[in-house]
Structure formats: C-alpha cells, structure tokens
C-alpha cells in the first residue's frame, strides 16, 4: 500500500488501485448479454430463470462497482433490495415451474404455449 497524497483519507478498497472501473463495466455488460442470450435461446424454463438471475446479478455488480468507485454507499441498499425481490420472484416462479412439471413432466417453454388462453 503506497499512500497516495492525491486521494482523500477515505476507506477505499485496495482493488481500486489496480483494476479500473471500465473492467467492471465490461464484465457486467458481458454477464447481462449472456443472460439475455440465455433467455432468448434456451427452452428449458429453469435455464431461462437462471439467465434472468444472471442479468439481475450483472445489474447488481454494476451498482456495487459504481458505489465503490464513487464512494457512495446508497447503491448498496439497492443491491439488497434487488436481491430480496429476486429471491421472492424465484420462489414464486420456481413454484409455478414445479407445478407445471408435475402436471406435464415437461419444462419446455416451446411446449408450454398455453399462455394464449
């Protein structure tokens, strides 16, 4: 740790010295795009769910990165919110998927076209 006279005396993680913010942005973007591609291409409902989680976590990663680099902790509150909401959503969604599976022995969204009715 070489003290940097230009930086103010705040508690900044040491990582920031070595890894620029841009890397986090690229990583989050990649994660998000992977999530989107997963949602659009996979047909298994559970995989689609996982992809959605991936997108949510990409957003979380962005929030944390900005919060650290800008020394603004309020974004971290958002992260917890998003996690809580995602957990609830997964609970409901998985319950539905499990019920569908029990009834049809199938979680293929191409097959589950009953949303029409």
């Amino acid at each position: 740790m070489i003290p940097n006279p230009t930086m103010p005396e705040v508690n900044i993680p040491a990582v920031i010295q070595h890894i620029p913010l841009q890397s986090y942005l690229i990583l989050a973007t990649l994660l998000f795009v992977i999530g989107i591609i997963g949602v659009l291409t996979r047909r298994n409902a559970i995989i689609i769910f996982m992809s959605i989680e991936l997108m949510l976590n990409a957003a979380n990663l962005l929030l944390i990165a900005f919060s650290s680099y800008r020394s603004d902790p309020s974004a971290q509150v958002f992260v917890f919110f998003i996690m809580a909401v995602a957990a609830a959503e997964v609970a409901v969604g998985l319950a539905i998927i499990v019920m569908i599976y029990r009834n049809t022995r199938n979680t293929d969204v191409g097959f589950l076209n009953k949303l029409k009715w």
């Binding site: 659009l40 409902a45 689609i48 191409g110 589950l112 076209n113 949303l115 029409k116």
Partner: protein
C-alpha cells in the same frame, strides 16, 4: 266524513290493481274477482257516504290538500282533492257503474286466461278516472286524463294475440295524443295567464279580471276543447272509438260508454267559468257536437256489428252532450252524462250477454229470435233501447229533451239537427233490437244449440242498470212536468262564478211551458215514428241487412263505409307520415351503418393483424420484450 276515508276512494282500486297485477297469474280466479270487485264496491260505498255527508253539511265545496307536489318559482301545484257537486256526481257514476261492470266481468271473463290481468287493468283505470274527477287542479286532471288513456289502450288491446286489436288500441292511443296535446297547451296557457292551475284560483281570477270574449280565454277554452275532442270522440277525432270495440265488452261498457269518454264533458263543466267567458268557443263546441251527433247517428243506421252500432251511438250521444254545453246547458249535459252512463252501460252489457250466448258472434245478421232464449237480456235491452230513444218516462227522454230545449233557445238549426239525430238514434236502436231479438234465428246450428241465458253475475247488473235506466230520469224532472229538477238545483252553485262573470248568458229561460210541451211532443213523436218504421221494416217485413258481398247503391255505400273518413285520414295523415318515416329510416340507417360498419371493419382489421402476435410461445414473448427494451434504451440514449 274524515279526510282519510276520502283518500281511500281512489286508493282502494289502486290497491286492488297492485294485488291483482303483482299476483297475476298466481291468485285463483275466484279471489281475483272478489278483490277487484270489493275494491270498487267499497269505493262506491265511500262515495255515497261522502255524498251524504256533503249534503248534510250544507253542500259546501271544499278542497282537501294532501301534500305540496310541484313548486317552481311562483307556481305552486299542490296535490289536493276538490269535493263539490260535480266531482261527487262523477264519483257516484264511476264507482256505481264501475261496481256493476266489475260484477258482470266476473261472469263474462270467466273463461279468459288473462282474468287477473283484466281485473288489474280495470282497477287501475278506475284509480286514474277517480283521480281525474277528484283532483283540484288541471295538472291532477291531466294525470288522470293520461292514465285513463293508458288503461284504455291496455284494455282495447287486451287480447293482444290479435294484430287488428292491437292496431285498434294503437289508434285510440295515438288519436288521443292529438287531443292531449291541445289539452296540455291549454294547461300551459292557463299557467302563463293565471300563474296557477288550481280551479278555485283560476276561476276567481278569470271571473274578476277578464271581459266576455277575451282572446286569451278563447284560446284556452279552444285548446281544452281539443283535448275533449280526443277523449270524448268528437269530429274530427272520433274514429278511434268505434275501433275501440276490439276490447272485451265490459271495457266498452265502462270506458268507452260510461266514464272515460265523458271526461271531456266533465272538463268543460268543470271549466264552466272559462267557457262562459268565451261565447265563440261555445258556438264551436255546439256546432261540433251537433255535427258529431248527426254524423255518427247516420253511420249507426247501417252498421251490422252489434257493438259497432252501440259505439256510433255513443259518439252520437256524446255529440248531444257537447251540443248542450254549447248552449250553456251545463246541468242538462251532466244529466245526460248520468242517464247515458246507465243506459249505454246497460246496452253494452246486454250486447255482451248476447255475444256470450252466441259464442262470440257479433254480426246481427246472424242473430234473431233471441228473446225467447235470453228473456232477462231481452227485457233489459228493450228498456235501454226505449231509454236511449228518448221515449218517456225513461231516463233518456228527460235528459235529451232538456238539452234539446236549451239548444232550441240557443240556435234553431242545431235543434233541427238534434231532432234529426234523435230520429236516427231511435231507428238504429230499434233496428238493432228487432234484428237481434225478434224474427227467426239466422245463425248456425251449433250456435242455436248453445244459446243460453247468462249466469246471475251477468244478469243482476243488467237488472240493476235497467231499473236505473228506467227511473234515472226522475232526478231531473223539469218544471213544465211539475217536477223540481233536483239535479239542476243541486248543481246550481257550480255556476255562481260564471254568473258573476257573464250574467247575460245566464238569463232565465224564455221558453214558455207550452213551447216546452211542443218540443217534447215533437221529439217523442219523432222517436216513436222511427221506432214504428223500424218495426215495420225489420219485424213485419222481416228484412235483413244485405251481406257484405252485395253491391250497394251510392249513398248507402258511402254511409256503410262510414263516409270513408278512416280512408281519408289514412291517406292524408298516416300514409305520408309512413312514407316520410320510411325514408328517414332508410337514410338514417344508411348513414349510421356507414359509420358503424367502418369502425367495425377497422377494428376487425387490426384484430386480424394483432392476433398473429398471440402465439402463446413464451420465447416469442420474451423476445418481443427484449426488443422493446432495446428500442426504449436506444430511444432514451440516442434521442
């Protein structure tokens, strides 16, 4: 006599209507008849009690306020009843004759599936009619006026499975609308002129503030008379009444002979102050009345349907009443209303009894010789025929002669018309009597086998009405015949205001007794001669009116076809309106359909397009969502 009992008079029939109307068809027929009849009989008893109390208390008219009804600016219309000589007389007629006809209906309508409905309508009619005569202002009169029109419509079209009957009902309703428009305009003019519709206020203001012949008063009275023309079937609005015979016979007796059609006469007598101030209106009333009396009587000469003859006779008798009103013989007209209610109700009920015996045959050409089979009906019918022909000492003679005497004083030409009408009346009534009850039976064999006297529920009212038709005239025996004319004395206070407003018109009669005797002799002789002529033609020679298929000569054909008045109205009013409405219908339909169809097609088109997006495939939905998000992002970021 407490006020609450007075309110019961119109309320009882209303309650009867509600019970029978809501309970139809679950209430058994026996109970329906008892409920419906009791309501009216109780009203009659209360009316008699009111009448006695009124006379005992010194014949002081009073207004019984029930509640404040309409208040707009300076105009106050209370809901209140007025009890005086006129409303009491009308009450007695309506509830009295109404009770008898209810009893009769129990027998006559017994096999009808709409029995309960029929009694409900009859009770509703009586409620409105009682409201009409009890109300203390023109607006309440108007409620009753419209209400009886409604019930008339319902009852004429009572057998609504028959389109012709429905058309007759519609005709009555629509023709009465024309008259009612006049009546309404009259009421509005009264409101504009006097700022009130209460009889007492209007008449006192009119008597105090207007000269004889004031144009405003003439306008009002003419408007009101247009209303009376419709309701009381005067030229030119009379053609609905003969068609109204489509209804069951008790309806014809109650509504189209004894009560509703006299509402116009009641209204004129009620407004006697206004009419006395408008001599020119009275002239018109007299002329129209006389014309109607003669015109309808001449049509009656050649009718072959037992009820149609009586219908034209009713129109003609109403014409007599208006003729009397035109000569300012208000009491005489009221007298004729009373006696006419008795004998015309009797004639209709008798005709109903005949129709009942003949298994619904109404053509007098297929009757004949019924007097042996239907003795009670025959006797009562005979009494009524003598009464209506004006042969003493029965009721019609006194009332008709009084009208004719007043008309003679007033206008000799009208009197000649009246006597001519009287000749015709006597002829067609006796023609009807002889063709129906004398000679040999001309119907089918089954009908002859079926002939029987009606049950007691039908013959008892006939007998009571026959007694009234025979003796009813003695309430108004003129001085010339050493009577005191109780009716005229009783009604005299009604005209006090009119006398102060127009004293000249009420100058004492100038006819000497010998002149009166002469007039009586002329009309009685005329009636007798035509009765004898009818006897010679239809009994001695045994003539029977020709069948419809035979060609008739010129004048006969015109009269037989009722002067083609219906056809005239049809071509002048009905057809143009139909053509216009058909055109408007087509045009309107086209325009509206154009717009509506365009909208429908547009929505259909979009639906067709958007339906393709609803595949049910989750993947596609998610894809669409992502595309949407991308579009929104670009939108936000790039623009």
């Amino acid at each position: 006599m407490s006020a609450s009992l007075l309110i019961l008079i119109p309320l009882l029939p209303l309650v009867g209507f509600l019970i029978n109307g809501i309970g139809f068809p679950n209430i058994p027929k026996g109970a329906v008849g008892i409920i419906g009849t009791l309501a009216v009989v109780a009203s009659f008893v209360l009316s008699v009690m009111t009448f006695n109390a009124f006379v005992a208390a010194g014949s002081q008219p009073f207004v019984l306020p029930l509640f404040d009804w309409i208040t707009v600016g300076d105009l106050h219309i209370p809901f209140s009843f007025q009890i005086d000589q006129l409303s009491l007389l009308m009450l007695m007629i309506i509830t009295g004759v109404g009770s008898l006809i209810h009893i009769y209906s129990i027998g006559y309508m017994h096999h009808d599936s709409g029995f309960g409905k029929f009694f409900a309508y009859l009770n509703l009619f009586l409620f409105f009619m009682l409201l009409l005569v009890l109300g203390s202002n023109y607006v309440i009169m108007f409620i009753g006026w419209e209400g009886v029109g409604l019930c008339s419509y319902l009852l004429i079209g009572f057998w609504n499975k028959n389109t012709n009957y429905n058309n007759a009902a519609r005709k009555a309703f629509i023709m009465n609308r024309v008259g009612d428009l006049g009546f309404l305009l009259g009421i509005f003019t009264i409101i504009a002129t006097f700022g009130s519709v209460e009889y007492t206020e209007v008449f006192s203001k009119a008597a105090a503030g207007f000269q004889v012949g004031d144009p405003v008063i003439i306008t009002i009275t003419l408007f009101l008379f247009v209303g009376a023309m419709g309701k009381s079937a005067q030229i030119p609005l009379y053609t609905w009444l003969p068609d109204a015979m489509a209804g069951p016979t008790p309806v014809s007796a109650l509504i189209h002979a004894a009560t509703m059609v006299t509402a116009g006469i009641y209204m004129v007598i009620r407004s006697n102050v206004l009419y006395s101030l408008a001599p020119s209106t009275l002239e018109i009333v007299g002329i129209i009345g006389g014309a109607t009396a003669l015109f309808a009587a001449s049509i009656g000469l050649l009718q072959n349907d037992i009820k149609k003859v009586l219908a034209y006779s009713t129109v003609s008798q109403l014409g007599y009443m208006f003729m009397g009103l035109g000569a300012m013989a208000y009491s005489a007209s009221m007298f004729h209303v009373i006696t006419h209610a008795f004998f015309k109700a009797l004639l209709f009920l008798g005709a109903g009894s005949v129709i009942h015996a003949m298994s619904d045959e109404q053509d007098i050409r297929s009757m004949g010789g019924l007097r042996k089979k239907l003795p009670v009906t025959f006797l009562t019918f005979l009494i009524a025929t003598i009464a209506i022909s004006g042969i003493p000492p029965f009721a019609g003679f006194f009332s008709k002669d009084e009208i004719l005497a007043h008309v003679f004083e007033h206008n000799k030409i009208l009197w000649v018309i009246g006597v001519l009408g009287s000749v015709m009346t006597s002829f067609y009534m006796f023609r009807l009597l002889f063709l129906t009850f004398f000679g040999t039976f001309r119907g089918t064999h089954e009908q002859e086998h079926h002939l029987h006297e009606s049950p007691a529920s039908m013959t008892v009212p006939l007998i009571i009405l026959a007694i009234l038709s025979a003796a009813g005239g003695f309430i108004g025996v003129p001085e010339a015949l050493h009577g005191s004319h109780q009716l005229a004395q009783f009604m005299a206070p009604l005209y006090d205001l009119a006398k102060t407003a127009n004293p000249a018109a009420f100058a004492h009669t100038s006819l000497s007794h010998s002149e009166e005797y002469m007039l009586m002799a002329i009309s009685v002789a005329a009636a007798l001669i035509s009765a004898i002529a009818a006897y010679v033609m239809y009994v001695q020679k045994g003539a029977v009116p020709a069948a419809d298929t035979e060609e008739k000569s010129g004048l006969q054909r015109v009269i037989y076809n009722k002067y083609y008045v219906d056809e005239l109205y049809d071509s002048v009013f009905v057809k143009p309106v139909k053509v216009l409405s058909n055109f408007l219908y087509a045009a309107g339909e086209f325009a509206i359909d154009l717009i509506i169809d365009a909208v429908v097609k547009l929505v259909g088109l979009f639906a067709k397009l958007l339906r393709k997006t609803q595949t049910g495939s989750t993947g596609e939905y998610v894809f669409a969502m992502v595309i949407g998000i991308v579009v929104i992002l670009f939108w936000k970021l790039l623009l």
